[in-house]
């Protein structure tokens, strides 16, 4: 009884949601987004790793390529009515494209509205991992980055050279 009485003078932990928003840490696993690289190019390269990692199989996509060989998803769909926000997709992603962000306000009356397409997922930001650009480390040549121009790469070999 005494204890209960004392609690009356403690700082309140309950916040008046939704008028007042909770402060969530940046690594909080909420709504999933697709981010962009520092050059504002789409980060996702359509590698299917997130889809394979997803324990409830709620990610599906189709990879395609632009005329210069850069891969990106033709469509990218997450069925949030199935997603369990485990973050495995984020962990599997080799490009930091897919990220879980501190936003959980996704409730819908109609379950169909929980199916997010690429236009709903892609944001104009690098998200939690600024600075990383997959195509700068990958060996694949794309528009604006030729062979030998990635980080830590030598210029392409001249195969007709006889110099040892």
């Amino acid at each position: 009884m005494w204890l209960t009485f004392l609690h009356m003078f403690r700082k309140r932990v309950t916040i008046q949601y939704p008028e007042e928003k909770a402060k969530l840490p940046p690594r909080w696993r909420g709504r999933i987004v697709l981010t962009r690289d520092p050059d504002m190019g789409e980060r996702c390269v359509g590698c299917y790793l997130c889809a394979a990692a997803c324990p409830v199989d709620c990610i599906s996509l189709q990879a395609t390529e632009d005329e210069n060989g850069r891969r990106y998803p033709e469509f990218f769909r997450i069925n949030f009515s199935r997603c369990i926000f485990c973050g495995f997709c984020e962990e599997a992603c080799p490009t930091y494209a897919i990220q879980l962000i501190p936003d959980f306000e996704m409730a819908e009356y109609n379950r169909q509205n929980l199916v997010y397409e690429k236009k709903d997922l892609l944001i104009d930001s690098q998200g939690k991992y600024p600075g990383y650009n997959y195509y700068k480390v990958a060996g694949l040549a794309i528009g604006g980055k030729d062979k030998g121009q990635a980080e830590n790469e030598d210029v392409p070999v001249d195969i007709r050279s006889l110099v040892p």
């Binding site: 709620c58 390529e65 060996g139």
Partner: protein
Amino acid sequence: MATIVIDGKTYEIPTGKNLLETCLTLGFDLPYFCWHPALGSVGACRQCAVKVYKDENDTRGRLVMSCMEAVTPNQRISISDPEAKAFREQVIEWLMTNHPHDCAVCDEGGSCHLQDMTVMTGHDYRRFRFKKRTHRNQYLGPFINHEMNRCIQCYRCVRFYKDYAGGKDLDVYASKSNVYFGREEDGILESEFSGNLAEVCPTGVFTDKTLKEHYTRKWDLTMSPSVCQHCSIGCNTVAGERYGTLRMIANRFHGQVNGYFLCDRGRFGYEFVNADKRIRQAWTGESVVSPEQLLNHMAPAWNQSKKVIGIGSPRASLQSNFALKALVGADNFYHGVSDNEHDLADLAIRIFREGSVRTPSTREVEKADAVFILGEDITNTAPILALAVRQAVRHEPGKAADAVHIPGWHDAARREMAQQSKGPLFVTSVHTTKLDELARDVYRAAPDDIARLGFAVAHRLDPQVPDATDLPEAVAQLADRIAQALLAAERPVIISGACCESGCVMKAAANVAWALQKKKQQTGLVLTMLECNSLGLAMMGGHRLHAAFNAVMNGHADTVIVMENDLYRHGKADEVDAFLSKCQRVIVLDHLLHKTVSKASVIIPAGTFAESDGTLVNNEGRAQRFFQAYEPTDIIRESWRWLLTLGHRIGNSRMAPWQNFEDVTLAMDREEPLLRGVAGVTPPSAFRIAGQRIARETHRYSGRTSQQANINVSEPKPPEDPDSPLSYTMEGFHGQPPSSLIPYFWAPGWNSVQSVNKYQAEVGGSLRDDDPGVRLLEPRTEGTLPYFVGVPERFRPLDDHLWIVSLHHIFGSEELSAHAPSVAQRVPQPYILLHPSDAAALGVETGHPLVFTIESQSYRLPVKLSDVLPVGIAGMPYGIDGVPYADLPEWAIVPRGNQRQNLNDLSYAKRHA
């Protein structure tokens, strides 16, 4: 058998193998790159190191490359020795110093042998701090993508392409760590087997370009065991689907038929399944109808017709042909092939059933030590057979290597020893073939002259065979040489077939084989056929196409069902026109739009092989089953299922008890004497392993709660398969099913196609529980056919005439594959091939149009010249768009005077110059 000790445990093993094969056979995971079960060992990659100990007292041992070390009895080795392990990890680390950071955008990823081996050795962190060497890529044509940065210099590609498949235009350039695998310059890879690079290369340097167009990881495909539909060999394939379209065809190892390889027609021809020309709706007259409306329309029409006849197809499954035969009645069932083709298929069956010689499988051809080819250009008509012949010519030179105990797997040493020498191969054909370069003798002549040579050879083997009289001296000597070489061999093989469209050539080939059989027990005779189920159709019995034409023209019948067949490919245009316009109703069941479909009054959308279950009989008489890769969406169904539904609706009593695939197959097995045994090709559809179906999808399959969520967020129930023991989901059995039901190859730690090792009883040998398929044709031991008589006359050119023969092209001559966009890029333009002296006599040159008629069908084709073609003969490409059908070989009338006048039509000449 011998015993060896691996890591302290004793194993019983067969001798004659190398340590790597032995360890893999025993189930150990030992990494390797350059060794390939079909290519043998060269010891280039240093990845397969193990420790070998002198005896039980030796504790230090020495590192050896297991692929270069023969097993010896009582050998003691260690795979898990720390030094051996460290060595293997080190080798991968070196290989990876230049590897790009590409897995995410690499098509090999998820089925990459390099990934698997890297994980297997435990290398996980790149310590190398210097720059990576890079390479520029090349354009290699519509089939293969090139990404040279990913190369680990294992040399498998050139060893396959050049040494194994005889390609000329892929090689290795530059030196040390800069070595480059590619062509001299950008350009289309010329080999018919280039697609295998995608599977042979353990990395993502060479990948399937058609898959890239709609890229899907291996783990995301719904895969089924399938059979190639593009020639009579019937290679086993894996068909992979995603999002309702067929994404890829890969090799499905078969120890007897195709081994580890496919040809490019088979690998890349699949895209006709996704073509825009697919028929996806049912039509009656001008309107699209639902299945119900269709049946409502058809049933009364059926009863009103005087008589309904059915025309089957050599490219449709046995079940579909059988269902059609049951629907219209045996008397009204016609083969949809030209009369010549019909006769040739019948002849082949007679030769195999009533003759004394067995037809060997492709693998057995590989082991032949003398080969005599009569009239066939097998590189273009049965490509995998040509690949087998390329291996066969290595046997005789290999005998020297055997004598000094160089084992069969020691590839580099054996090739070094053999140098350029080749075993006996004799090629006779109308025009050049790619195998000519390997042949001891090449004879180019008219089909009749080839048959005469065959008779002459057979006569030399057994004087009972009638001889060809007054052969030119050179040809008689050639016959002597061939006969001698065949007699000197242990396992001679004679190859001929229906593609040169000459019965006497096939008869001559049979005579040679039969005569030889009397002296050489192990003689084989291979006859190639024109289409994937030509033999199966012929074994079912049925009337000729002309009889169908007559039945309608004479008013006995007024309705025709044409199933999976473009009659314009098998009959002369004017005859087919007349036939189709005389019919009251033309009902066409097919999957691609073609000229016959355009004349139909009812069009029924049939499933392609990817959407169907069925059985085909290949040229070896082997019945093989293919499984539906995916349930088609619209109203597309297997032809046999449509016919069954129709049969039920019109009250066909014979079909009434048949409900599914198995019922049809069992009925066929019962009722068709030549097809007895087809029901045993695969386990029944009720077959289960531990109560489970076999999963078509891998356990890593992704996206199943999302891929259709855009349509409806509640997932639909996955389709059920009433026709097979396979499931359409990832639930089910993922282990090793019976060999005929393997949907894909995968084993823990082995994601790439190399996992096939784990499915073989002995690495490189047959699949566990034997290779799939049932051979239906076996030779007789007594009461066999007598020798064929009737040696043809010598071919004599005729004035104002040309004897037209078909020339086959791997890309273009087969109907379905030609609709695949990648293959379509390789199809030749129409042409007529002439000898320069004929061209000079006619006053035409290269590119000029030649006008001629074959049995009232007139042609106008640009001229190509070849001085190896016999004079008086002209070659016309078979089955290519723009070259109307003629029942070849046939005389063409070439009015000499006319040709000048054609030349005046300059615009034409320019177009084709």
